[in-house]
């Protein structure tokens, strides 16, 4: 059964955004994971529109979002303001943070405990 909380990955590079879910799916088969990478033209950058789509396509109503660099956070925040879903953004190391969250979500660990384990991974 799909978990109630999903994961969204945002990167400046389409291939990076596309690649991380492959790693996470190994430990979190039941967590809905969507991603947004690059600009609308698939160039280096981020797109609030693509991020909105990633929110929309995720099967969960509450989402944990992980991103790479500063400007992706700005587009993430814009997308959150325009979305109906509850989205939590984490300023943690992208791969390690998302991997930690995926593992714990799959094991039905509470969000409060997940956030506690994410705290030391905060790097930005």
């Amino acid at each position: 059964m799909t978990k109630k909380i999903g994961i969204v990955i945002v990167s400046h590079v389409p291939e990076v955004a596309m690649g991380i879910p492959k790693l996470l799916e190994q430990v979190a088969a039941d967590v809905s994971i969507t991603f947004a990478g690059g600009t609308d033209d698939n160039e280096i950058g981020t797109s609030a529109g693509k991020i909105m789509d990633a929110f929309e396509h995720n099967e969960a109503q509450e989402l944990l979002a992980f991103y790479d660099l500063g400007s992706s956070k700005m587009n993430l925040e814009l997308a959150v303001e325009m979305s109906d879903k509850k989205v939590n953004i984490y300023d943690v190391a992208l791969i390690e943070g998302a991997y930690t969250a995926a593992t714990l979500l799959e094991a039905d660990v509470t969000l409060a405990d997940i956030e506690q384990q994410l705290a030391p991974l905060k790097i930005k």
């Binding site: 600009t39 033209d41 160039e43 280096i44 950058g45 797109s47 500063g70 400007s71 587009n75 814009l78």
Partner: protein, 194 residues
């Protein structure tokens, strides 16, 4: 007072300025950024031009909103959400006031909130903040705008990719400050503060 006619003229002039200066903007972005500010802004302004051309008899709110959404979806770099937020704030508030001093002040607050930067961080805010102050004192001029952008040369970058360079960013103009300079020069030329 800002009107739809002034905004149309303003965007037309800003589009021209970005077309002329896009190579220079990207060049400024090369030593301290990722070298794409000119192309990003050009893509954004092409989007603005196309977006505005599709509207028929828009009011000020829709005009600002169209500019914001075009910049947000087309620019790609950090400038997209920052300039986009500025115009979204103006769209949100332009029914209450059409005074440039008040609208730009609200836009500046939006930029600060979105990017988490403040005055002196070597960003576009170092142009926006003095422009807002000058507007409040009814003393905005092209010279003041230019001087503000030029002032970013001696600052140490605290935000964005340039901040990774720290002290090494001194001696370079901030590309976002220079594109903001063009934005306000275009605003003045469009008759925005008459």
């Amino acid at each position: 007072m800002i009107t739809v006619e002034i905004v149309d003229k303003w965007m037309e002039l800003f589009y021209q300025k970005i077309s002329e200066q896009k190579a220079y903007l990207s060049e400024l972005d090369t030593p301290i950024g990722d070298g794409d500010h000119g192309n990003n802004m050009m893509r954004g302004m092409q989007g603005v031009k196309d977006g505005l051309a599709k509207l028929s008899e828009p009011d000020l709110k829709l005009t600002f909103k169209t500019i914001a959404m075009s910049l947000i979806s087309k620019v790609g770099g950090a400038a997209g959400p920052l300039y986009g937020t500025a115009f979204l704030e103006m769209a949100k508030n332009c029914e209450e006031t059409q005074e440039p001093a008040e609208l730009f002040k609200l836009a500046l607050e939006g930029i600060k909130k979105r990017g988490g930067a403040t005055t002196g961080d070597k960003t576009m805010i170092d142009v926006w903040a003095p422009v807002v102050d000058a507007l409040a004192a009814a003393s905005l001029s092209v010279e003041k705008v230019k001087e503000a952008a030029e002032g970013t040369r001696d600052l140490v970058a605290k935000k964005g990719r340039a901040s990774y360079l720290g002290e090494r960013s001194v001696g370079h103009l901030d590309p976002g400050a220079v594109s903001s300079q063009y934005l306000f020069e275009s605003f003045i030329a469009a008759g925005g503060i008459k």
